[in-house]
Symmetry: C2
Subunit: 74 residues, 2 copies
């Protein structure tokens, strides 16, 4: 099996809520979704891509998207 | 808030089972754990880092590690 290794993993990962690209916050070891105002933690090297487990970094954006999410998934 | 962006995300992500580094299989859009003989899918841009959701790519290694895992988590 031949595996094409691509180190630019961040180009293909997206926020599960907004489907926008993520940036890696090295200082706090987490993945930032600017669009959703959320940060997904990386626990022991494993990214936790769950909305409920994300840290809110922008209250306004996060509330906006959480509102949409709640309506779709009551 | 200042964010240090590091594109080398693969250097910090590990297999949840073996804690070893992963490689990105671009062709099949999944993260390979050579040590565990498993591949973690990336569904719609979101990596699913669950042992139960991983695809077995090496039966011998996967069985070895699944055996250990089952003993720890019966």
């Amino acid at each position: 099996m031949e595996i094409a290794v691509d180190p630019k993993l961040l180009e293909i990962l997206v926020c599960p809520l907004t489907k926008t690209t993520l940036t890696y916050d090295r200082q706090n070891n987490r993945l930032i979704s600017e669009a959703a105002g959320l940060a997904y933690p990386i626990l022991k090297g494993v990214p936790i891509m769950l909305i409920d487990g994300a840290e809110i970094i922008d209250e306004i954006k996060a509330n906006e998207f959480r509102g949409l999410f709640s309506q779709r998934n009551p």
